[in-house]
Every structure is written in structure tokens, then in C-alpha cells.
């Protein structure tokens, strides 16, 4: 059982634009992503929404598979800017690694 942690979104604000909450989980970004055949990047965005920071850290290496081609951001129906969120998460993870 994962307990939701809504404060994580706040924490992320210092690293990224605050658009993860705009995502309505349609999956376009995951399906359009040419590199990663999983739920990525929606999985990361969803973890931000529910505040599952440890999940993001566990799967951190996935973030670096993203080459920022911009397709997800271009096609996002809610303009949630998935590319920017992934970039922010990279910063967050780096910061976490630096601190630990």
C-alpha cells in the first residue's frame, strides 16, 4: 500500500515547472515516446501527482533514456509539458544523489 503524499508536488516546484498536475493520464506521451516501451513518461508524471518520490528514485535511470525529442510535449492534449517534467525530475534526482 502506498500512502499518497501530496506535498511532493511542492517539493518538485524548485526543479521544474508545475505542470504535472495538469496531466489527465491519457497516455499519449507514453504511446508516442519513441524510446521507451513502457508507461514512461506517464509513469513518472503519475508518481509526481501521487507523491511517490521513492518510485521515481527507484526508476531514476529510466529518466536518462529520454533524449528530449519533444514529441510528448508536442502531442500532449492538456499541454502538461511532459518533457519539461522529465527534465525537472532529472534535476531532482541529481540533487538527491548529490545530497545522499
Amino acid at each position: 500500500m502506498t500512502m499518497l503524499n501530496p506535498d511532493f508536488a511542492e517539493e518538485l516546484k524548485q526543479f521544474s515547472e508545475d505542470s504535472a498536475l495538469a496531466c489527465f493520464n491519457c497516455g499519449t506521451c507514453a504511446a508516442i515516446c519513441p524510446l521507451i516501451d513502457s508507461h514512461f513518461p506517464r509513469s513518472m508524471i503519475r508518481y509526481v501527482q501521487i507523491g511517490a518520490k521513492e518510485r521515481i528514485l527507484e526508476a531514476a535511470t529510466e529518466l536518462w533514456k529520454c533524449l528530449h525529442c519533444g514529441l510528448c510535449t508536442q502531442t500532449c492534449p492538456r499541454e502538461a509539458n511532459p518533457g519539461e517534467i522529465i527534465l525537472g525530475l532529472k534535476r531532482l534526482v541529481l540533487d538527491h544523489w548529490r545530497k545522499s
Partner: protein
Amino acid sequence: MTQAKEKEKQHATKVGVYICHCGGNISDHVDVEAVRRRLEKVPGVAVARTNMFMCSDPGQELIAEDLKNGVVDRVVVASCAPSLHETTFRNAIRRAGANPYIYEHANIREQVSWVHHGAAATEKAATLVEAAAAKAGLLRPLTPIRVTAARHATVIGGGVAGLSAARDLADRGIPVTLVEKSPCLGGQLARLDRIAPTGERAPELVRALADAVLNHPHITVFTDAQVIATDGYIGNFKLTVRQEVASEAFTGTEACYIPFSGMRPAGPSPSEPREFNLETGAIVVATGFRSYEPRQGEYGFGDFASVITLPTLIRKMAEQDTEGSFLEIDGRRIRSVAMIHCVGSRQIPGIHPEDASGRLNEYCSRTCCTATLNAACRIRETHPGTRVYELYRDIRTYGRGQEELYEQAARDGVVFLRFEPDQAPEVVRADPTDGYPLKIRVTDTLTFSENLEVPADLVVLSTGMEPNDVSDLVEMMKLPVGVDRFLLEVHPKLRPVEMPVGGIFVAGTCQAPFDVGETCNAAGAAAVKAASLLAEGHVELDPFVAEVDAERCKGSGACVEACLNPGALALVEMQIGGQTVRRAQVTPALCLGCGACVAVCPENAIDVCGMTLSQYEAMVDAIVADQVAADALR
């Protein structure tokens, strides 16, 4: 009329038979040409024609031309169910200058081509059309019954729909009486605060509408009042209204708005219950809805004080109307609110339990998604410290400005979780270490069906709509009720605000869940039908009523005894051949046309116009004709 004479008459008429392909709906299964060829040979049938769409303009024109040219004087159209197009063709005949009651309809789509296939379908279609032609041969021109209509309408229910319909009718110059059960006007709208998505204040909307109604010279309002008896018919209803003594004494000389109750008209109310009669031409039923009451234990309702319904939340928030980092409810600081959608709506047999009377609300209540999002946005705006979670099945923000509200809620930080109906969230007491009194366990499909826990100080149930219990009106006025228990219109597209009893209309949430704007549309649509009805001062009714053959009637009185509508039939003294005799007489506007009298007359002296016993006998003869022919060959 003797049988021989009737036969003679049947053959003296020229029946036109018009068979519809229905663009393949019929002709894919019924050989329409074969039917036409067979009908052409039937004695009494002058012409038989076919058309791709008989209901289309060229189709109707075929009939009109034949009538105008004197080729036919009786008409049979074989097409879809009569409920769809009987009126269409009667009107076409009327436009061609003929009497619309020389028409008979044969249903060869719903009752043939859609249920039978192959040669047997064609055979049956032909037989049904032959039967219709046999009846048509015996039809007589009839004159509609003209009834004067009281230029007055009664609206039952003083919520948005009732107020709006009353004002509409009164603005058209029609005097209106509005009867409201409770002491106040405004209905369920008075129990709301800000209305999504425009943010308008419900009390202001109620006040505006109620003021217009209370100050209207053509509207009389009775609160604490109910219709307890109805009588009469379209244009001439007689209602008995009972007004109770107001539960709380109110003697104000001006109407006043009571928050969460509505607009209280100026007093004083009667000191004793009173009953009075109303004569009215049309009735608008606008009896509204009530909010679903969750069952004991449903998502913890009743088990935990901090599980409340959305209407309760709206009221508590409005009454406090505070700003501040955290929402406070009953003095408790709310850090986290979880809102659960579809409570008492979209219930599924086998998953959701039925209530004591076996009912299940399988319908969507239409308004709750937006109302919930609206409340969530409001909380996030005025109490940014309070977290909001929404647990939903589908977000149904279908209306204008509603999808935007959904996005705004998301951007304001509302977290959405989606559950499948067979994996409903569970509201449980949290562990002391969780720091919250309650938590909700949910299998969230947005998070790859992981099991998540939502911490909650407050759980809000988005309860759906149920129609108000109007079984007394349903009984009295013979109103049809759908499987969803809302009042059932005649047809959602052809006659969306009409009840089958002429002159009775339906408006608003007693018919289906609607939001405020949709309710006003429904009220306007009902009002426009009532206005059209009452505009002329008289109403024309179908002439399908009993008729006495005074020559045959011996005055036995059997019909009067059998008659189901007191007053429709009576024995009266009249002069026949210089003698005073007692004979049966019909009051057409009161006759229901049921035919109870027909069956009991020992002299066959009474019949229902347009559906006489001999017409039915002719149809049966046509149906068995092939057997008779086969027997003859044997």
C-alpha cells in the same frame, strides 16, 4: 347498419394502399413489390403504390395527388410503427383537402421486417396490409371534437422548473396557478451555493426567479399546498388543491429569502387547512428531485461522522463562508478531503446492493461530476492548505465550460484517482500512526492498478439524484414512470415534454437529471407546448369516441351501466317518430373511447368511431382469408 349494407359500403370506397421501403428497413426483408401486386388485386383497392420513404415529401405527395384526383378516398400506409407516422399521414391527407380519419396504418416494419425474414415476412406483410385495407374500406370521415379550453395553466412544483415555466406562461399572458408542497419556492436550487461553471450564486438565481413569479400579475402562488384530486380532460381539468397551515408561523408582509430553504412568499398563511378547486386548461408537472441518501455503511456513511454528502458539504461551506489556509467543518480543521463520485448513481446489478424495495439507480445523475469539481476548486481556492482527492469512474464534464473546470481542478492541485466499479474504494479508520482519522483504500487504474491509500479528515460522497416521490400524482393523473422511476415522456425527440394524457406536460428533474440551464430549457419547452395549446381558446380532440345509433338503441341502459367514465353516457328523453323515448346519449369530450359500452349493447347500437366492431371483424376476416380459400379448395 346491416352487414350487407356495410359490405356494400366497403366496396363503394376506393382504398389507396401506399407501401414504404423505408430505405431498405422494410424492403430488405419484405418483397414490397410483391405486396403491392397482391394488394392491387384486392376488391375495393383502387391503387397500390410503393415509395422509398413514404414519410418523405414525395411520398406524402403521392397520397395527396391520388386524393386530389379522386383516384382514392380511403388511405392505407404500410410502413413503420403508427406511433411514428400515423399523425404525419393524417396531416398529409388533411393538407390534400380530405378528411384525415379515412386513414388506416399497417405496421410492417417493427412488426414484420424487423422480426421476420424471408417469404413468410412478405406473406405476413401482405396479410396485414389486406387487413388494414379491409378496415379502411369501412372508415367514415369523422369530425374532431372541439372543446373550449380554459385559458389558465397550473404548475405543480415551485423549484427552478416550476418557477421558470410559470413565469414563461404568464409572460405569454396566460394566468397561472403554482402549487408548491413546501413552504418555500426555489426547490433544490435553494440548497446550493455557487453554481458551476459560471460561479453564479444560487440564492440570487432563486430570488430573481421567485421575485418574478411572486410579483407577476398573472401568477397565483400557493405554498404548503398539494393537488389532491384531478378530474376532467385537456383544456378542462378540475383540480382540488389542499393548502395546509404553515408549519412555522410566518406573517411577513414581504417575501423573504431563507437560506437553504428558499423564498418564503408573504404571509399570512391560512389558519386552517383549506381545500379549493381550480379549473385549468393545462398542467405542467415540475416536481423535481431529491438527493440520494447513502445507506448505512455505504463508504462509511453513518459509521463515521466525517463521511458526509456533497449537499451537506456545500451547505456547511456556505454557512461558514470563511477563508483561511484550511477548510474547517464543524470546528475541525480539514487537511485532506476525499470526494467519491457516483454514489447512488451508475449502480450495477450484482455489484451494488438494491434497496429495500429492490431499486437500483443504474442511471448517471449527470450533474454530480461538475458539482464535485466545483466544490473541489472552491476548497483549493479559498483554503489552499486543504488537499483534495477525487475518486471517480469517468469524469463526465460534458457541458460548456465544464471540461475547463476539470482542468482547473487538476491545475489547482486536486489529485484524481480512478476506480473500477467492482473494486470500489473502502473507507476505513486509519491507524493512529497515519495521523488522519480516516483513510481510503483504492485500486487506482491511473497508477497501473496499484493499491493506494488516501488520507482523509473528511470524506464527501457525491450523491446522485432521485425523483421525488410523486406516486399520488402518478396514480391520479395516470403519468407513466420509466424503469429509472423518473416520469417518462411520450418520446424523447418527437414529444419530449409531453405526457400521454393530453394537456399534461413534464418539466425538469422529475423527468431526468438536469442542471439549472437544462432545467430552464425543459421548462421553456413545456411552457411553449402549453402556450400553443391554450393560445387558441379551444382544443381539438380525436373523434374516437362512442356513438349511438339512435334507430337501433332500445334504451336498455346496459351501456350506461358499463361506462367507465361517469357522465360520458346517459339515458335521456328524446323525440323519435313523434314519441318520447329514452335513449343513450354520449358526451364526447368525456368519452374515453374505451368501448366498454360496445361489448354490452344487446342491440349493437353503440360503437366507437374509427374502431368499430365490424371494422375489427373485417380485419380478422382478412387475416383468415387464405385459410378460407384453402378450405374451399379442399
